[in-house]
Symmetry: C2
Subunit: 247 residues, 2 copies
């Protein structure tokens, strides 16, 4: 398999040059060949290239510079809108206004997103996922004029890397992979699995910069706080329901 899978890293800074239209179309076509539930293709991809539209999207992504600096921004959406329209036009009553259908559509969108990212990276492009797609889904819906049935679940910025940052760490494979059954973690194993991560210079710097005692506290008290998670959780649930998925 191509080596990009192993050497990749998220790219947040891009060269000013554009992505060729033919290449972008090939990436999108590769994406649409990805598995989807029942071949329903219940997702959509909004391609943002116009500077004005990037400006409009930026606040939803907390003005992270990637949004305006990347030549292409892709917003992946769970989308039963088109499918529902087709059903109604064909004397069929769709029953897809529920949580499972939202998850089905979100899954279609995310799998297609990742194929596009893998293909893009194989071509030398750099990608960055923005978690803000779910945080501020309401503002993205407004900016991109998404109708009912359509919910953004991931945003990816795409461009030619301006420099290659250091590859971030990953936990040992055994932190993620379980054979045959889930083998829960003993305190000793947790220590082992996180030892290398905690000893990294950047981890120690994170802890010091944030005045914390442990790296885990940087996550729980600074980066992904309970109060923020609960706030954005409620907001995202409200958006999903407003877009027509009832649960």
């Amino acid at each position: 398999m191509n080596t990009t899978y192993f050497t990749r890293r998220t790219i947040r800074k891009y060269e000013p040059r554009d992505i060729d239209e033919g290449l972008l179309e090939r990436l999108l076509t590769a994406g649409t060949r990805t598995s989807t539930t029942g071949n329903m293709q219940v997702y959509s991809i909004i391609v943002t290239r116009a500077a004005e539209m990037k400006q409009r999207l930026a606040p939803a992504h907390f003005n992270q510079p990637m949004v305006t600096e990347a030549p292409v921004v892709l917003t992946f959406c769970a989308d039963f809108n088109r499918f529902n329209l087709w059903c109604r036009q064909r004397d069929a009553e769709p029953g897809y206004d529920n949580f499972l259908s939202f998850m089905t559509a979100a899954t279609d969108a995310l799998l297609a997103a990742q194929t596009i990212c893998n293909a893009a990276e194989e071509e030398g492009l750099g990608i960055c996922y923005l978690g803000t797609a779910t945080y501020n889904a309401d503002r993205i819906i407004e900016a991109l004029e998404l109708p009912k049935g359509v919910v953004p679940v991931a945003t990816v910025t795409l461009g030619w890397p301006a420099g290659i940052p250091e590859q971030p760490d990953r936990l040992p494979l055994e932190a993620v992979v379980h054979y045959e059954k889930y083998h829960n973690f003993t305190p000793g194993l947790i220590d082992d699995l996180y030892r290398a991560k905690e000893a990294r210079a950047d981890s120690l710097q994170f802890i010091a910069e944030n005045g914390k005692k442990t790296l885990a506290q940087v996550f729980t008290d600074v980066r992904y706080k309970k109060a923020d998670n609960e706030f954005f959780s409620a907001k995202f649930l409200e958006v999903i329901r407003k877009q027509g998925y009832r649960f």
Copy 2:
């Protein structure tokens, strides 16, 4: 980019031969290099190779033959369990028992799943996603002994293709891709986008076999019925909450 992206199709029948352990480990390693939110890696992959475990999983997947016939079955799970254990062991109070955290973890799992599928297909392996992972998550949790915090979101069967079936259709790119803004669909455009799909011999056969008038009715009345969606929706929500995500 490699041509597999364009030529791929889901493979449901596999040769009896196994997947080399080294290859499987490379696939899993490629998967763990995939983007994850904040590099938290809040997902897990359960690898099923033992015949006995496949038998135990099979009913959860409605005994689809892929589960027992594929040499490898991968169950991808949203998983805050390990991360929460680490936090608690490091004097940090995790706040990840909410809907957004579940979506974050599910996204991590699904993106890693798709990287593994792309890499596997590049190596000549065939894959099949089983939607049943979310339908019967409760039975999968039982079979794989998944602790609190862990929720299956996708199952993939993996093996060497026993024959290459015809490539299924996809809608034209413009059904899925929107430029700059979402361009909603007029009735005429819906007709255009679905015309080729509806004219296919297999579509006509589906309609006839099921005694329906339109292809859309095969979806709404037979394959993905409202009552089933609502039943499995309620069931999946219950499982997610039981696993510790409150919303």
